[in-house]
């Protein structure tokens, strides 16, 4: 509904700061919006409140020392951050990672994806005014964090995936527990999706809101659920398989505009929730295929990466994560540039916002699923 045309009275634009402390911005994002009553005329995101100089720090650390810092970028998907970094360095070194370690890595990455999407599910419902889904999502997320805690000793920032393998082995009892949990999770997520995704208020708030067209998604370099939500079949795990993803059988979920237009907030929500089921599929195949063996490959004690550069992309819960690493042959990286998917997604806000109501804009920001730690680094 285009309210601005019905309104005949002319009003002045009002400048309003959303954030940095605003529950709907998922962190410390400040969006300066100019509003014409409830309608947004212009939005300018201001970043940098969580800038911790990660790229500069990396230049003073050795290659292994960078891994804990990568955790702190996207703190809701720390395993995926480590995974991408380690893959990049291993590709430069030519290290072969043992099969068991690869299985554990993929399993951890997918569990992290589930945890991250559950977090999205909960916080997005809060954005739109429903509180209880948040508690449901956290119940299931808790199990995943417990498993991570047993394996790595930490609940959020793991430093678990190392260059050449993983730090700690997983035992059969834990594998069994994961298997049991997946059965429970599958039922739960179906239930949650019926509860929230099919709810008519939720559909009313998200369908046809914040539409991102195919062209716009390409133009802004959107990736991950943001791109798939716009109806583009693109998943790095399928298109450019890294690690051992080519062995697994799973589907790419693409937004189809079931409740509204292709590329609206509901589609992005749908893509993320359905991806949980795909991740469950992958973990099940991991549990079947995992074999005994070492968990650490042969890596020199003092890591010196040969001179050169690499750009490694991996599929994270929020989109593609890229590491552009330049090495000068010493034991410290010369430059570590991180391509963060959220950073590019935030740059779409000025184009998404005009014409939206403020409450719809909150829904749009939520559907991007930003983590400011990754945006600001």
């Amino acid at each position: 509904m285009d309210i601005s045309k019905q309104e005949k009275l002319h009003t002045d634009l009002l400048t309003l700061n959303m954030g940095p402390q605003h529950p709907a911005t998922h962190g410390v994002l400040r969006v300066e919006i100019k509003t014409d009553s409830e309608i947004i005329a212009e939005a300018t995101p201001h970043l940098g409140y969580l800038h911790r100089c990660k790229e500069k720090h990396s230049e003073f650390l050795d290659y292994r020392g960078v891994i804990p810092y990568t955790d702190r970028m996207d703190y809701l998907a720390a395993m995926n951050m480590e995974h991408g970094y380690c893959l990049a360095i291993e590709k430069m070194l030519g290290t072969e990672v043992p099969k068991r370690a690869e299985y554990i890595r993929v399993m951890m990455a997918e569990m992290q994806r589930i945890a991250s999407h559950l977090m999205f599910f909960g916080t997005y419902a809060i954005d739109l005014g429903a509180f209880s889904p948040f508690l449901y999502a956290f119940q299931d997320r808790e199990f995943i964090l417990r498993i991570f805690e047993e394996l790595s000793g930490a609940r959020l920032l793991y430093n678990y995936i190392w260059i050449g393998g993983v730090w700690n082995d997983i035992n059969d009892a834990q594998l069994k527990r994961i298997e049991d949990f997946l059965v429970e999770l599958e039922e739960n997520v179906k239930k949650y999706h019926n509860l929230v995704g099919e709810n008519s208020i939720f559909i009313g708030r998200t369908a046809n809101v914040g539409v991102v067209s195919k062209e716009m998604a390409y133009e802004y370099g959107a990736t991950g659920p943001m791109l798939r939500g716009s109806g583009i079949d693109w998943d790095l795990r399928k298109k450019r398989p890294y690690s051992i993803y080519e062995e697994f059988d799973f589907n790419t979920v693409v937004g189809e505009g079931i409740k509204g237009q292709v590329g609206d907030c509901w589609d992005r929500y749908h893509v993320r929730v359905m991806e949980i089921f795909e991740s469950i599929k992958i973990i099940r195949q991991c549990l079947e295929g995992i074999e005994e063996g070492p968990i650490m490959g042969k890596v020199p004690k003092v890591l010196k990466v040969p001179k050169g550069e690499i750009y490694m992309r991996t599929e994270c819960p929020r989109g593609e994560l890229g590491y552009h690493i330049v090495s000068d042959g010493t034991k410290n990286p010369y430059r570590v540039k991180v391509k963060s998917s959220c950073f590019t997604h935030v740059s779409m806000l000025p184009e998404m916002a005009p014409g939206q109501m403020i409450a719809d804009f909150v829904a749009s920001i939520g559907s991007i699923d930003i983590v400011l730690g990754e945006v600001d680094r």
Partner: protein, 233 residues
């Protein structure tokens, strides 16, 4: 693939001097003349063969020895499933004369934020950029942090950056003490350097001497073992 792109670029954009840098380790790249970067990018985007429809990153690298800042445009095609690194090498310049290059915002809108970040971090000016401001640092920040010769400013808006009372001395002294007390100090690996002026100098020297002693003793032992082995043979 790189050679094909070079051929295409040299034919399409005259004067761009595209050169392929084929790497043995890691990724290969293509260097082009900085003045033609926009034409190169739009040629790659609109070409039927390469279809580079997505700009992934703009990443700057500083090389003070060569007096050069390198800007890497990493572009990808989500249609052809390829990716490509395009480099431009700019003279490093100084405070008043920052390196300049044409903005590619008209080609990909994604370039807006990415170029702002490169300006913020490395001080590369992108000409004809629609919104040329700092992005991660505050607007009144001095210097460009990711340059190799960057020195952290002492004060920012009357606040002291790194005040001495906020530095975690205990942690650093703890590692120095460990180096004195641990039975094998070479195993102690604190990530911090312990030669700061404010740390207890006696302790630091003690720790340093002990590490040197143990290292020398270990080496002597290894040498002796090697010598006996050789004699035995």
């Amino acid at each position: 693939m790189h050679n094909e792109v070079v051929e295409f670029l040299n034919a399409e954009v005259s004067g761009c001097n595209a050169v392929a840098n084929i790497a043995e380790v890691g990724d290969s790249s293509i260097t082009v003349d900085p003045t033609f970067i926009k034409q190169v990018c739009s040629a790659l985007k609109s070409s039927d063969k390469f279809k580079m429809n997505v700009l992934q990153v703009v990443s700057g690298v500083d090389y003070p020895e060569e007096n050069i800042i390198e800007v890497n445009y990493i572009v990808a095609s989500f249609i052809e499933n390829t990716e490509l690194i395009i480099k431009v090498r700019l003279p490093r310049g100084d405070e008043n004369n920052l390196p300049k290059v044409e903005s590619v915002c008209d080609v990909w809108k994604a370039a807006n934020f990415l170029e702002r970040e490169t300006y913020d971090m490395l001080g590369v000016v992108f000409e004809n950029h629609p919104d040329h401001r700092r992005i991660l640092c505050p607007d009144d920040w001095e210097g460009y942090p990711l340059r190799k010769d960057y020195v952290v400013q002492e004060k920012y808006m009357d606040m002291v950056v790194n005040p001495p009372e906020k530095i975690n001395k205990d942690d650093i002294e703890f590692f120095a003490k460990m180096r004195v007390e641990h039975e094998d100090p070479t195993q102690v690996s604190g990530s911090w350097v312990d030669d700061h002026a404010w740390i207890d100098q006696d302790l630091a020297n003690k720790a340093k001497d002990r590490v040197a002693q143990v290292k020398a003793a270990k080496k002597a032992k290894a040498d002796a073992a090697k010598a006996t082995e050789e004699k035995g043979e």
